[in-house]
Symmetry: C2
């Protein structure tokens, strides 16, 4: 064995991470070697803390340490405006614009018949209940502008339309075919402002 | 705060790693979120284990969990042949050729007057003692082919020459100006085989 056992072990763990290959994993392991014990402890604890402390908000399914999450719990947010997103990463991308004052609903996925993901597998029922039970005036479709995202938005829009609320979607400023989480803040801000009726 | 606290914390820790920016750190943190608790525990423990178990070999300064290291301890290695390298990463790169049968001496740095690193700051004295006290027949200079590496090799070669042993250096198959740890195995193998008298 070329590496000592514990070095080998950490390289193996790092290599499981997305986008981290052999050389990168080695570089990260050597980074860990040269930081202080205290620093390594912090890194290690941050991993464990994330796993033990984080849960999903019972209202919107955002990642949170307190339930309901800081957004759902915030009285200065507009609770009559719900932005529907696929996952917490998309929520974070929109939050980063700093301009959105409504709340969210995280679907935790998109409709995808090929992967056997139907309406009951994502949080559509919960969205309907939320809209029906609360004084919701507008739902913004914030799904990614790709096939699954469009299908999901269309499906939800149809379900919502009998309720007579305003249904909008993000302006097509978002580049088509990409993932919403990688859109820059300005593009997302423009997309929020130019949202059109669904 | 956009991220929940523990997510923010882990992203911050990941961002300290070399070559990991904001987006990458976020992606890695979300990776940690979606792996099992067991998996996260493994990753976290691997970091701590590396820091607590690893030390430097008292003979060659290679990274090891047992002292002396597996290479210094191996009777089938040629202990009369020492390859001098800058750091453990360079040692690993040479070990990966699978063809080198000698032992190593890790300098833990290179001479660098601009950074105030002189002969007493790297393990040159220890190399001299090793060569003088043991039956060493050949020392291979395996430092990186850049300014600091060349200076260091030259300095050590001059110190060693009165001892009458063979002093060689890696063949110039290694591309100039780069770091030895990034050379591919074939190049390193050729460089080992074509080594020339210093």
């Amino acid at each position: 064995m070329i590496y000592s056992e514990s070095l080998q072990e950490l390289i193996k763990e790092f290599k499981k991470m997305p986008g981290i290959g052999e050389k990168n994993a080695q570089r990260l392991a050597f980074y860990v070697l040269q930081i202080s014990n205290e620093q390594a402890q912090k890194l290690s604890m941050a991993i464990i803390n994330l796993k033990t402390r984080i849960r999903y908000c019972s209202i919107c399914s955002n990642l949170t340490e307190v339930d309901p999450c800081a957004i759902c719990h915030n009285p200065s947010r507009d609770h009559s405006l719900i932005c529907v997103v696929e996952d917490p990463k998309a929520l974070i991308a929109i939050e980063k614009t700093g301009q959105y004052k409504g709340v969210y609903h995280v679907l935790m996925g998109t409709l995808s018949p090929l992967d056997n993901i139907g309406p009951d597998d994502i949080r559509i029922k919960e969205l309907m209940t939320r809209v029906e039970k609360n004084d919701v005036k507008e739902v913004i479709m914030g799904t990614s502008p790709n096939m699954e995202g469009e299908t999901t938005s269309l499906y939800i829009a149809r379900l919502l339309s009998p309720l007579g609320i305003k249904i909008t979607r993000l302006a097509r400023g978002v580049p088509i075919g990409t993932d919403i989480e990688y859109a820059d803040e300005i593009t997302l801000l423009n997309a929020l402002e130019g949202r059109t009726k669904f």
